[in-house]
């Protein structure tokens, strides 16, 4: 198997394929990632979302997208609509300014995470569907706000990279750590413990094709541990009830989206609804360290949980 490792947009990526990817295809992968970042990163002053934020202060603003970028926007916005409805508005794409208000206003690599902070939480625009619309290839933003697609953006990007490699024969894994998409690659996968990353809370025997997302509040913490990046749009403050979630789904975007939703009331219900039409399993850890998991997880062959009462035989 061939293995391509690289760093991009603050993440370590690994692409595993049966054979080495041709040079031209590798370049397309990198360009795809860079272009995506150039549109959607709120840390880039020259990005589309930053431009929309600046322009929407005074008046309604709009951006022209390429057909493929419009397709991404449509997929993300419709998924966000489902997430918002399910969580009573707690998840919103117009949440960038809430993250900035807590101090996460630049690339995480440039923050000083141990610096103590005392920030005032700023609620997001939770009723955002009127203020952020896509018409054809025009993305319109009519309220002053900053888009942040962190709830599912990385998952979508992993799907797009995966789709770019559709013609590559054999097994394939696009692994951005917390978001993974794969085919023809059944695997034993450790579910990383959020409080001690040398440990696993369990192991899942993943099917050959699909996606997995893992989300945890330890991933981005700043203000000497006081703040993390999974915030409740209604209050603008970091969630406290859950520490981590893990989801198996058919696409990386939906796995990522559900992994986020599970931190909020309504998340488990949304998972239940989705599992009527696709293969989904999930787990999450409460702030007291106890695990909750879906019936579908319990039914998985080869799933193990390192907790009392779980039969690992």
């Amino acid at each position: 198997m061939a293995r391509l490792e690289f760093e991009a947009i603050g993440t370590s990526w690994v692409i595993r394929s049966a054979n080495e990817l041709p040079q031209a295809l590798r370049r397309e992968v990198f360009e795809l990632i860079i272009e995506f970042d150039q549109l959607w990163s709120r840390f880039r002053a020259d990005s589309m979302v930053s431009a929309l934020a600046r322009a929407s202060g005074a008046a309604s603003a709009s951006a022209s997208l390429t057909p493929s970028a419009a397709k991404d926007a449509a997929a993300m916005l419709s998924c966000y609509l489902e997430l918002s409805k399910a969580t009573g508005g707690r998840i919103s794409p117009l949440i960038g300014q809430s993250l900035s208000a807590l101090g996460y206003d630049r690339d995480f690599a440039e923050l000083s995470p141990s610096a103590e902070l005392n920030m005032a939480a700023k609620p997001a625009i939770t009723d955002w569907a009127d203020s952020l619309t896509l018409t054809g290839t025009q993305l319109q933003q009519s309220a002053p706000a900053l888009i942040d697609i962190g709830a599912l953006g990385k998952g979508l990007l992993v799907d797009r990279v995966f789709e770019l490699l559709a013609e590559v024969p054999g097994e394939l894994l696009v692994d951005a750590g917390a978001d993974q998409r794969f085919r023809e690659l059944p695997a034993r996968i450790a579910l990383e413990h959020p409080l001690d990353i040398t440990k696993a809370v369990g192991v899942v025997l993943s099917p050959a094709s699909g996606a997995i997302a893992a989300s945890a509040t330890n991933r981005r913490r700043w203000g000497a541990g006081k703040y993390h990046h999974i915030i409740d749009g209604l209050s603008g403050a970091p969630v406290q009830e859950y520490l981590a979630s893990w989801v198996g789904a058919e696409s990386a975007m939906r796995a990522d989206a559900l992994a986020t939703a599970l931190f909020f009331p309504g998340g488990a219900e949304l998972a239940e609804e989705w599992s009527r039409h696709e293969q989904i399993w999930w787990l999450r850890m409460t702030s007291s360290g106890s695990l909750e998991w879906s019936h579908s997880f319990a039914a998985l062959t080869g799933a193990e949980l390192f907790v009392d009462g779980w039969n690992n035989d």
Partner: protein
Amino acid sequence: MTKTAKASSQKIKAIAGLVLLGGTVTLSACSTAAEEVPANTQSPQSSTSDSSNDSANNTQTSAYQDGSYTASGNYRTPGGIEQISVTVDLSDGVITAVSVTGEPQAPESVQYQGQFSSGISDAVVGQSIDELSVDRVAGSSLTSGGFNEAITEIKEQAQG
């Protein structure tokens, strides 16, 4: 723009010296654990590195020799590259304790590493080292690569 970033490099220090009937002892030259123990976390358990203290009556039933092993690796945090040191105690092929310590190289990372080394240690205790063999990890930390590679080195070292 194409960067093959290997997240870790390793160096191994065997803290335990073992004597097997008819076997050989491997001791590392720079044997003091003090080099790697930072101020803010627990120090690794170690058995003595002086071979004369180890009983020659040790018989091994598993492929992995009992003892305390340390491997270190580098990993990437938001604050930069940090060093992590994993110490594993093996008894009869079973991990009886795991300790993870780090050497902060940037002041911002001290808090971050503190969260890793404390924490629930029961999850792994009692698992045979072979059960940590998974194809990959689903997790949002940036350090998994360093740990897994350290464990691979420990396995190789422990197989003597």
